[in-house]
């Protein structure tokens, strides 16, 4: 799977260090995807809406962290679907084609094929998919409609500082490393993410998940229970056939 995707795989590179928290990416995303506004309350932060939502495919997370130099540091991280190569949502989804891989390596969705079971929401290591009012899955789809037409994703196109870049995944990583970013978050996680982050500091400081992973129950289900469901049924049918031929049916006469 990984090898198919990594060739020509596209990605968004987020460089939180140069993000100014202007939220133009949020507006551009809403505009392109025709998403309605969400009524929210002031929770004492500029982060708004408070989390990803069915009408918010990306948000900037604002975090205030203690600092030695200043009283507090204000950190901005643009957050959206990570477009995992090994995607928990796609793994658990029971409806073919509801979540699918685009040829650029992104994870997109088809509302008509989604059956609204909500399993993807629970299998995502990053808490990304959301359900709309009709109970259908929504999330960032890496603007597959734009990039298919040779354009950049809406959020990247509008970013005024270069905190969001779009391009060939391998190139983005090597450029970021040359520019002195020691940690590329998502370079290897889950087979390599399609939303990667360039950090000079600890990703955890910016609220990034440490060692993201598909829930272990989902991995167990996929690697053990699914094969068992086929082998078990086949085995039982085979055992019955062998029993019938080798031992044969019950005979009344032989019983005393």
């Amino acid at each position: 799977m990984a090898n198919d995707n990594t060739k020509n795989r596209k990605a968004i590179l987020v460089t939180p260090e140069v993000c100014i928290g202007c939220r133009a990416c949020q507006v551009a995303c809403k505009s392109w995807n025709q998403l309605p506004g969400i009524k929210t309350k002031n929770n004492g932060t500029y982060q708004n809406p408070p989390d990803l939502a069915s009408a918010a495919f990306n948000i900037i997370r604002y975090s205030e962290v203690p600092s030695a130099k200043d009283p507090v540091r204000w950190l901005f991280v643009s957050r959206r679907c990570m477009h995992c190569d090994d995607a928990g949502c796609m793994k658990i989804c029971p409806a073919p084609g509801a979540l699918y891989r685009t040829k650029e390596g992104a994870v997109a969705f088809d509302r008509d094929k989604c059956i609204g079971c909500k399993l993807c929401v629970n299998a995502c290591p990053f808490d990304v998919p959301r359900y709309d009012a009709d109970g259908k899955v929504t999330k960032c789809h890496l603007c597959f409609d734009r990039i298919g037409a040779g354009m950049q994703p809406a959020c990247v196109k509008t970013c005024p500082t270069g905190a969001l870049r779009f391009g060939d995944r391998a190139e983005l990583i090597s450029t970021a490393k040359k520019d002195g970013f020691g940690t590329i978050y998502g370079e290897e996680d889950l087979g390599g993410l399609g939303s990667i982050y360039a950090f000079k500091e600890e990703p955890k400081l910016y609220g990034m998940t440490d060692d993201p992973a598909i829930p272990s129950s989902v991995v167990f289900w996929h690697t053990v229970l699914k094969p068992f469901a086929v082998a078990g049924l086949g085995g039982v049918v085979a055992a019955a056939a062998i029993h019938y031929l080798a031992v044969g049916p019950h005979k009344e006469e032989e019983e005393v």
Partner: protein, 201 residues
């Protein structure tokens, strides 16, 4: 005319087939979801319809399963020395030469099968309802997803065994689930302790 004994009542037979039909529909659609099988989805008119069918047939299944308790539950909890002996000779299934101890209305294999189906059935129904109806509780949904699939594995092992043993492996058994009766002479051989208790021998 051969004298017949009634082993299964009318409501038991009807309920058995409601249970069987719903169970098989659920297993088929379950495989469709498990492997995203387009062909199975098409049988139901698409995955959206299959989800609706799966959920509501599940309701029929659990109601039917709970109703079946009045037919089998008490018997399934009682085991005696002959039952222990029955396991030692593997119920006579592996060889026709061993002496199988006298049985009551149900042998311990059937009784344990019933308890397995009852347990797995309640587990698969409860977890199914959680996946269907609960939102915003990741731990509960993931546990339910696991329980639902483990119980599914129990079903796909137990149900074919039940079908084989009640048809090909034991000629004459199937008709009990059709008209509810079997010849007295056969009943005396197969279920001597039950026949004694009923005063027929």
């Amino acid at each position: 005319m051969t004298e017949m004994v009634r082993k299964s009542s009318g409501d038991e037979i009807l309920n058995h087939w409601v249970l069987a039909a719903s169970c098989i529909l659920l297993i088929i659609s379950g495989y469709g979801f498990l492997f995203q099988t387009e062909a199975i989805g098409s049988l139901f008119g698409g995955f959206n319809t299959m989800k609706t069918v799966h959920n509501w047939v599940g309701v029929v299944f659990i109601l039917s399963l709970l109703y079946s308790m009045r037919h089998y539950f008490t018997d399934a909890l009682e085991y005696d020395e002959d039952d222990r002996q029955w396991f030692k000779v593997a119920g006579g299934y592996l060889s026709h030469k061993v002496k199988v101890p006298p049985m009551g209305k149900y042998n311990p294999g059937q009784k344990l099968y019933y308890l397995a189906i009852l347990g797995a059935g309640i587990a698969i129904a409860l977890s199914g309802f959680a996946i269907w109806l609960v939102q915003g509780n990741q731990t509960l949904i993931l546990i339910s997803h696991l329980v639902h699939n483990v119980a599914f594995c129990i079903f796909i092992i137990a149900v074919p065994v039940h079908i084989y043993l009640s048809t090909l492996a034991n000629p004459g058994t199937f008709q009990i689930m059709v008209n509810g009766t079997l010849p007295l002479e056969v009943a005396k051989k197969r279920y001597p302790k039950w026949m004694k208790a009923a005063g027929k021998m």
